[in-house]
Point group: C2
Chain length 308, copies 2
Amino acid sequence: MTATRIAIVGVGKIARDQHIPAIEASPDLTLTATASRNGQVDGIPAYPDIDAMLAAEPDLQAISLCQPPSARHAAARSAIAAGKHVFLEKPPGATLSDVEDLCAAADAAGVVLFASWHSRWAAAVEPARDWLASRTIRSVEIAWKEDVRKWHPGQDWIWQPGGFGVFDPGINALSILTRILSGPVRLEAATMEVPANRASPIAAELTMRSAGGAPIHAVFDWRQTGPQSWDISVETDGGTLVLADGGNRLTIDGAPHDVPADREYPALYDRFAKLIAEGRSDVDLAPLTLVADAFMVGARVTTDAFED
Amino acid sequence: MTATRIAIVGVGKIARDQHIPAIEASPDLTLTATASRNGQVDGIPAYPDIDAMLAAEPDLQAISLCQPPSARHAAARSAIAAGKHVFLEKPPGATLSDVEDLCAAADAAGVVLFASWHSRWAAAVEPARDWLASRTIRSVEIAWKEDVRKWHPGQDWIWQPGGFGVFDPGINALSILTRILSGPVRLEAATMEVPANRASPIAAELTMRSAGGAPIHAVFDWRQTGPQSWDISVETDGGTLVLADGGNRLTIDGAPHDVPADREYPALYDRFAKLIAEGRSDVDLAPLTLVADAFMVGARVTTDAFED
């Protein structure tokens, strides 16, 4: 089988660090073009925007969208209308209804839509899911605390309405949570701390419940200096499982558990190639649904102004 | 076929005005019990809460939940666990994940779940849908303006986080909108006016788009004194359709269009009885999804304090 001709839209930091190396290492995919206002890749045809690229490269088969979520819907619709398969970075849209529109459009066009959740492919996530499958879950505690100045320096869009704020990293925790537990996770209550000079939360606390009735508590905080935390701890009838480092490290009752080598983005692109081969879409909205629920029912508390 | 034995939970104004008369008029249903902190129905066994009722009335087959949305999830879970079919007043839950949890639980238990949207059963909605089906839609304008002091006097819960605010009536407009248009409706932007002393919006403006690309503009306002407006106007290539009075009156290019007699709640219960007979659930989350999306990406503007 010949490799699928794929293009990247949005050649920014995440594309350079993760997407491009993963595509270049894949036997199933060939990077054929890029579309980006600024970035490009040596030796690969570069276009200023997706529509110019689609017009000039009719043989493209798939498009990976790596730009911020607010611009993603229009680009995805263009790609689908041109008959291309679409890979969406997380979150798959600015809104749930954006993504549902894309699902309907992709189905009608007969193309594959893949809503990727990269944290779900961190090395220890599947081992954690397997270990939990035969245990009864008693409670879950999530701490997702990082320094926004380090990870999003000067990024104004994350603070605008629709910019998600601290849910931008927090949704990664929710994507892992909804993968390692069986059955739906339900949001019961939320509190969001919003800086006086911003529209989006800098911190959030979520009270959730598993389908089996176990309480789930999550704290997301963007004001963490020093060591950063991306940890999920699960108490079960068979011991305590801790997923640390954003899903990359696993301990059971304090003892380290072997996990396979980390290949988050390569695994994502393997999955996309498999979906294309099978003609099947994969769009799980559970993480974004929990975020939307938190905004809908969450209490908002004004906190100190945040200056970058 | 004998009539299905149904109970009502939450005997308040909406139950007395609508649900009880509709059930009493139905040949398919028999009102068998009620559970409510205060209200009851003459001649029908009354219980203080759903769990007491379920224990005392094992022959019940279906439960209609008419209490405020925040209490509905726990009651629905109890009813499903007891093997009863469940009718949910709108909105079907406080959150989307609440409802998804109920869907999974109902499927597992083999019972029917019906998320009712009563405004969709207003007399002119189906005629409007039929008329629009063969037209190209150019734009939609929604004005849903009412006096909160008249319709929700002293109801504190609607102003709390999760109380929906003006989306409590606004979701009725969204339920009609998503019924009369074909394909998904997508939220693009929203602005919410929130009183300085409250957590939920008193007014909202939504910018949406149809699957076909037509702009949709909605204004919800709870500060309307004098005449109240619940109107949806649709410009098409074949003329202008106006659905007025909350879906009950239809004009095309200004000319009144005959509609069947109004039987909103009786039609809802006919539908529920049919779903039970067919063993099929009906849960459309599109209206609640648009509300969650509006809260997630909407800009919040503080406005005058609201005193009841």
